[in-house]
C-alpha cells in the first residue's frame, strides 16, 4: 500500500509548506537581520569613533604645530615656520596646513602633493576664530591658536581629508558583511541539517497522525482533512466527487473467533484488494475499526456511484486467504455524492452512513446509493422514537404469546412472549416496525423490562389457573446485558410476580450472543445460577464458533425459521437441521424448531429427534386471554372446566 502514499493534503496543487522549511527560513532570516543590525550599529559606531579619534589626533597635531610656530611667528622666520608645518607630512590625512598671523594673513603654508583641492571653509564672522574642528563637504578643518605667554599671535589651520576614514569604513563594512555572510552560511548549513531531522520527524509524525498502522491506509483523521479539502476544491471549481462508506458485516466475529491477528490480516488483505479494485485517483481510508471510506475523485457522472459500489462488492466477492483460514468478508456500503447529496463534508458522511444503513436493512452484503428519502426515513425514525417513549407510558404496548409444543405429543409446554404496539393511528404494529429504532436509541432496555414484568405476571396468573408446568420465554436485547441491568430487571420481575425462576426462559439471539461473549457468558451464567434457562434464538444464522458452544451457559437451541421453511424438500436445510439436532444432543441441549407450518415439517423434525416446535401449525402469537382458551381447551381432564380462568 506504500504506493498510495502521498503527502497530505492529497489534493495536488496545494502543497503543504513543511514546518521545518519555514523554521529554517525564519531562523536564517532572523540571524541575518540580527547580524545586519549588529553590523550596521558596529559600523556606524566605529565610523564616528574613528572620526572622533581623527579629530582629536588632528587637534593635537594642530596644537603642536601652533606651539612650534609661535617663535617663528614672533621672529618673522618664514623658513622655520614652513619647516614646522612641513613636519605634518608625517600625518597622511593632513592635506594642507596654513599659518595665519594675528591679522588673518597667511604667513606660511604647507601643502601635500595631491590633486585634491578642498573647498574653502566658509568665512567666519570678521575677527572671530573658527571653531576648533569643522566638517565641511567631506573635509575636516582644524584650527589651533598660536599663543606666546598668553598673547594670541595667529592660528594654524589644518585641512584634513576624510578619505582614509571613508576607506576604512568601507573596508570594515566589507569585512563585517563578509564575516556575516560566512556566519550565515555556516548557520544555514547547520540549519539544513536540523531541518532534515525535522523533516524526518515531521514525516514520522504525519505517518503516526495520518496512517493507519494496520492497513497502511490513511486513517479517519486523514479522511476528514482530505474530505474537507475536496469539498473546498469542489466548491471553488464547481466540480463534485463520490464518497462510499463501507462497513464490514460481522467483522467482530472474525476478531473474536480467530483472534485479532487474523482480523488485522483480513483488514490488510481487504485494504489491498479495495485499493487494487479502484481507479487511479480513488482513495481508500480506514475510517474506523471495520469501516472504510472510499473517495472517488473526478467528475460525478451517471453511474459513478454504482461503479464505486460494484467495485467494493467485487473486492468482497472472493474469500480472503489468511493463513490456513479462508474467510468470506461481507460488507454493506453506502454511497453519496457531493454536492448533490450534501453541502458539506460532515453531511456527506452522514448521507453515506444513511445509505449504508439502507444497504444493511436491505439484507447486508450489498450497497445502496443515497436517496433523499433516506434522510426523511431518519426523520421518521426520530418520530417513532418519540412516539415509542410515549407508548410505554400510555400503555400502548401489548404482550402476545405464541405456544411452544412438544412435537411428539402436541402438548403446549410453554409460550414465547412477543411485544406488539397498539399504535393509535397505525393500528397494531409488529416488532419489525419499531424494534430497530428502540435498539438504536436504547429504548429497548426500558421496553425489555416492561416485557419481563408483564410476562412474569401473566405466567403467575396461568400458574394460579393450574397450568403450573407452563413456562414463558422472553427475548432480551444485547443492550440489557451490556448495560448490566438484565439481572436486576429479572430479579424485580420475579419478585413482583413470585413465579418460579425455573419457569422463566431467557431468549437471546445468536448474533447478540457472539457480539460480546465474555460479558454475555457472565450474565447468562448468573441467570442460570438462579435456576432460569437460556435459549439461543435464531440459531444457525449468527456464525457461532463451535468452540464457544461447549462453554456457553445455554440450555436450548432454537433452530432459525429459515432452515425450517423449506423442509422437508431442501436437502441442504435437512442436513443443517440434522446437524444442529445431533450437535445439541451431543452437548446435552434441547432443540426447538421455529416456524413450523406444515405437518410434513413436524413429522420430519420429530423423526430427526427435534423435541419441541413453534409455529403457525400450533398457533400464532395471540393475546393472553386467547392463549388461556387454547390452554383450557387442550386440558386433558374434565374438571378443568371448573378451574378459575385467568385473563
Amino acid at each position: 500500500m506504500r504506493s498510495t502514499r502521498r503527502p497530505l493534503p492529497l489534493i495536488p496543487g496545494q502543497p503543504r509548506q513543511r514546518l521545518g522549511l519555514r523554521l529554517t527560513r525564519t531562523a536564517i532570516a532572523a540571524a541575518g537581520v540580527a547580524l545586519l543590525v549588529a553590523g550596521v550599529i558596529l559600523n556606524v559606531f566605529l565610523y564616528f569613533w574613528s572620526r572622533a579619534a581623527l579629530v582629536e589626533d588632528m587637534m593635537v597635531q594642530a596644537r603642536v604645530a601652533a606651539d612650534n610656530t609661535a617663535a617663528p611667528l614672533l621672529f618673522n622666520d618664514l623658513g622655520a615656520a614652513s619647516e614646522t608645518l612641513g613636519s605634518l607630512q608625517a600625518s597622511r590625512a593632513v592635506l594642507s596646513a596654513r599659518l595665519f598671523d594675528a591679522r588673518g594673513a597667511v604667513f606660511a603654508v604647507y601643502h601635500r602633493f595631491t590633486n585634491d583641492v578642498p573647498p574653502p571653509l566658509p568665512a567666519t564672522a570678521s575677527g572671530a576664530l573658527p571653531a576648533p574642528a569643522v566638517f565641511h563637504r567631506g573635509w575636516l578643518y582644524v584650527n589651533a591658536p598660536v599663543r606666546q605667554d598668553g598673547r594670541l599671535l595667529g592660528r594654524v589651520e589644518l585641512t584634513v581629508t576624510l578619505q582614509p576614514l571613508f576607506d576604512r569604513a568601507i573596508v570594515f563594512a566589507a569585512i563585517t558583511a563578509g564575516s556575516g555572510l560566512a556566519a550565515l552560511g555556516i548557520a544555514y548549513l547547520l540549519a539544513v541539517g536540523i531541518r532534515r531531522d525535522i523533516d524526518r520527524t515531521e514525516a514520522r509524525l504525519d505517518e503516526l497522525a495520518f496512517i493507519d498502522p494496520v492497513t497502511r491506509l490513511y486513517n479517519r483523521h486523514a479522511a476528514n482533512e482530505h474530505l474537507q479539502a475536496l469539498v473546498e476544491r469542489a466548491r471553488s471549481e464547481g466540480s463534485g466527487f463520490s464518497l462510499m462508506l463501507l462497513d464490514l458485516d460481522d467483522f467482530k466475529l472474525i476478531n473474536d473467533t480467530l483472534g485479532h491477528g487474523v482480523g488485522d490480516d483480513v483488514l490488510r488483505r481487504l485494504a489491498e484488494r479495495l485499493h487494487d479494485g479502484l481507479r487511479t485517483g480513488d482513495l481508500v481510508f480506514r475510517f474506523g475499526g471495520d469501516e472504510f471510506v472510499i473517495v472517488g475523485e473526478g467528475p460525478v457522472r451517471e453511474g459513478a456511484s454504482e461503479r464505486l459500489g460494484q467495485a467494493a462488492m467485487r473486492s468482497l466477492q472472493a474469500p480472503l486467504q489468511v493463513g490456513p483460514h479462508e474467510i468470506y468478508v461481507r460488507g454493506s456500503a453506502g454511497i453519496a455524492q457531493f454536492p448533490g447529496d450534501a453541502d458539506d463534508a460532515h453531511a456527506l458522511l452522514r448521507a453515506a452512513d444513511m445509505a449504508m444503513y439502507g444497504a444493511k436493512a436491505a439484507g447486508k452484503n450489498t450497497f445502496a446509493v443515497f436517496q433523499p428519502e433516506m434522510g426523511q426515513s431518519s426523520h421518521a425514525r426520530l418520530r417513532i422514537d418519540t412516539e415509542l417513549r410515549h407508548a410505554i407510558q400510555r400503555g400502548e404496548l401489548r404482550l402476545y404469546y405464541q405456544p411452544i409444543v412438544e412435537l411428539r405429543s402436541g402438548a403446549v409446554i410453554g409460550v414465547e412472549a412477543l411485544v406488539r404496539w397498539q399504535h393509535p393511528q397505525r393500528g397494531l404494529l409488529a416488532p419489525a416496525e419499531f424494534i430497530d429504532v428502540a435498539e438504536h436509541t436504547g429504548l429497548v432496555v426500558e421496553m425489555g423490562e416492561w416485557v419481563l414484568e408483564g410476562a412474569a405476571q401473566q405466567l403467575a396468573r396461568w400458574h394460579e389457573a393450574g397450568f403450573s408446568e407452563l413456562y414463558v420465554a422472553v427475548n432480551v436485547s444485547g443492550r440489557q446485558i451490556k448495560r448490566q441491568v438484565l439481572l436486576a430487571q429479572v430479579e424485580r420481575a420475579l419478585a413482583a410476580s413470585g413465579v418460579n425462576p425455573a419457569r422463566l426462559e431467557i431468549e437471546i439471539t445468536e448474533h447478540t450472543l457472539v457480539e460480546d461473549v465474555n460479558v454475555n457468558v457472565q450474565t447468562l451464567s448468573a441467570l442460570r445460577g438462579k435456576g432460569m434457562r437460556v435459549a439461543v434464538d435464531d440459531f444457525g444464522t449468527g456464525l457461532s464458533s463451535l468452540a464457544y458452544l461447549k462453554r456457553l451457559p445455554i440450555d436450548k437451541f432454537k433452530i432459525d425459521r429459515s432452515f425450517v421453511h423449506e423442509l422437508p424438500d431442501a436437502a441442504g436445510d435437512v442436513a443443517i437441521v440434522t446437524a444442529i439436532i445431533s450437535m445439541a444432543r451431543a452437548l446435552g441441549l434441547h432443540v426447538i424448531a421455529e416456524g413450523v407450518e406444515t405437518d410434513a415439517q413436524r413429522e420430519l423434525l420429530t423423526r430427526l429427534g427435534c423435541e419441541y416446535g413453534q409455529g403457525f401449525l400450533f398457533g400464532r402469537p395471540v393475546p393472553p386471554e386467547r392463549l388461556t382458551e387454547l390452554l383450557v381447551s387442550a386440558r386433558p381432564n374434565a374438571d378443568a372446566a371448573h378451574a378459575p380462568v385467568p385473563h
Binding site: L74, A102, G127, Q148, D149
Partner: protein
Amino acid sequence: MHRFAGSGLCRAALLALLCCGLVPGQAVERDDLKAAIVYNILLFVDWPSDAAPAAGGSLVLCTDPASTLNTPLKSLAGRPVHAFRLELHELAAGESPRRCHALFLDAGSRLQALPLRRQLKGLPVLVIGDEPSGADEPVAIHLDEANGRMAFDVDMATVKQARLQLSSRLLRLARRVNE
C-alpha cells in the same frame, strides 16, 4: 571671542615685528624692530630661581642711557614677560648691573667699559648686543643685520655662565649657536 585686542603700543610692536624685512635708511623702523626682537627674546629666557623676580614683579631690562633703542623700548615697558612685567632701567655710568635681569648693549656703548664686564661675570644677566663681539665678551645674544633681515647668534658658553636657560624654540631660530 578671541578678539585680537591690545594696546596701541602692543600693536605697534607687532607691526614692527611682523614686518617682512628691513628697508635700509629707515633708522627709526629698524630700532623699533630691534626693540621688538629684544623683547621677544626675553619671552624665551628662563632665569635661575634665585635671580628671577617674584611673580607679578618686574623683569628689569637695563640699557645705556644713550641707546637709540631707549625710546622704542620704553613703549614696551609694562608688557608681560612670563609672569612678570617689563621694566626699563637706564644704567648710569659705574652703576652695578646687579638689579638687571637683561642688558642691551649698543655698538660702541660706553657700558662696554671693562669694569662693567667684570661686574657681569657670574651674574644671571642676559646680555644682548647688536654687534659681533670678541671671545671674552659677556654678550650671550648678538643681533645682526644680514641681507636686509634681522638675525641673531647665541653664545651658549656665556648663557651657561650666567646660569640662564634659553628655549629650544629660540635656539632653532638662531642663525648660529656657539657652544
